[in-house]
């Protein structure tokens, strides 16, 4: 039975630090072998999860949700009122999206999402989180120097715009609805979805209109 004893676990981590192989691949291989032998994991199920996140569950889901919000005001209102219910219209509810809050970028507000305490992320609509989102640097700096962070991503926010940083400290998960770029009036929902990037839905990018013309 679990002890819930912090001091005991700190000692276990100290032992593991001394005895586990340094190579990450070896660590995970040994763990999977042991869990399979103990009857706690079926490797075919592990394969299936990897396939699902490689092929199906990715930022395209969030992009389709945003594109619909851009083209359907009633859907946008539902998305802002109850993010989870709105993405369930697409059948997208899943891992870490049971309490989804959509926050909308406007000419006056730019939203940015972080998890300073671990790396919480709405996996079922954005897929696997990017490495930088899980980095110490992003987690430390996003709440303190959001404009500096955004500049590193090539995003300049005017002094008259409020930057809102959302720290995912509970089981609520945040999805940024980026601003629809100008010059996209002729695009349909599917075309608009191609403009919505993963980073734009975290807040570290803006959506851009497709380049027109040759060259």
């Amino acid at each position: 039975m679990t002890t819930y004893d912090s001091d005991k676990v700190a000692r276990i981590h100290s032992d593991l630090h001394d005895h586990l192989p340094s190579d990450s691949a070896l660590r995970v291989k040994a763990l999977e072998s042991l869990l399979v032998a103990k009857g706690l994991v079926d490797s075919r199920a592990v394969d299936a999860w990897i396939d699902l996140y490689a092929e199906e569950i990715g930022p395209i889901r969030g992009a389709r949700v945003v594109a619909r919000a851009w083209t359907d005001a009633a859907f946008k209102a539902r998305l802002l009122a109850d993010g989870t219910a709105a993405i369930e219209e697409f059948g997208y509810v899943g891992h870490a999206t049971g309490h989804l809050i959509a926050v909308e970028n406007t000419p006056a507000i730019h939203n940015l999402v972080v998890c300073t305490l671990c790396s919480c992320y709405p996996f079922a609509i954005l897929g696997m989180s990017p490495g930088w989102y899980k980095s110490n640097e992003y987690r430390a700096r996003a709440v303190r120097d959001p404009r500096g962070v955004l500049a590193e991503f090539g995003v300049e926010i005017g002094a008259d715009v409020e930057v809102r940083v959302w720290d995912s400290t509970s089981e609520l998960r945040y999805l940024v609805i980026p601003q629809r770029p100008a010059g996209t009036e002729s695009l349909d929902e599917a075309g608009l979805a191609t403009l919505v990037t993963r980073n734009a839905m975290i807040g570290t990018a803006l959506c851009k209109a497709p380049r027109t013309g040759g060259g």
Binding site: M1, T2, Y4, S6, K8, V9, I12, H13, D15, L16, H17, L20, P21, S24, A25, V28, K29, A30, L31, E32, S33, L34, L35, K38, G39, L40, V41, D42, A45, V46, D47, A48, W49, Y53, A54, T84, G94, T97, G98, H99, T116, L117, M128, G131, W132, S135, Y138, A140, V143, R144, V149, E152, F153, E162, R164, D167, T169, S170, E171, L172
Partner: protein
Amino acid sequence: MDGVHDLGGVQGFGPIEIDDDPRPFKHDWEGRMWGINEAVAGGPGWTLDWWRHVRELLLPLDYLTRPYFDQWAQIYAALLIDSHVATLEEVVEGKPRGAGSAGASPMRAEEVRAAAGRTESFRRETGAKPFFGVGQKVIVRSQGTVGHTRLPRYVRGRPGLVHAYRGIYVLPDAKALGRDEAGPLYTIAFQAGDLWPEAAGRRDRVFVDLWERYLEQ
């Protein structure tokens, strides 16, 4: 706990390494670890918040330097040892020394698609009423917590405004101890200038989800 995991606002970190590689996993072992985490049958008494706390308890050096999914492997190693499902030797060798099976029934491949469409609700209907109202000023408790908590250090003792009341949610501090308690959850808005001296006068705000027990009048 006052740990290195509580990174919000900690200074001294350099530029963010931005990598636009669209692949979900750069290394096979990262994907394996993700899949293991999704497919594993839980051990006795494991909870999401205890899992998070076990990560927080990594040696600070390991927390700050070992790769992300490598830390997950160590979380499971520690969970197994702590709950007597495996020994240190078994974890290091990757094979059981004794009888083997822990008697659980792990997720099957055929069940993965359905599992991927399920989500856990952390909301509870206890009948409790929120003490604070939207727009009200609050002060975050200044004391830290010995065990797991979702109250980040950078807002302790700081004034904020109730931006939203979210409902009654499972309390992580208790769940990390195996107890099912719940309480009112709010999103609190902090002016950047109330958090960071260099941000005085900046219009930006930081929004943090905080349970009522983290707050004072």
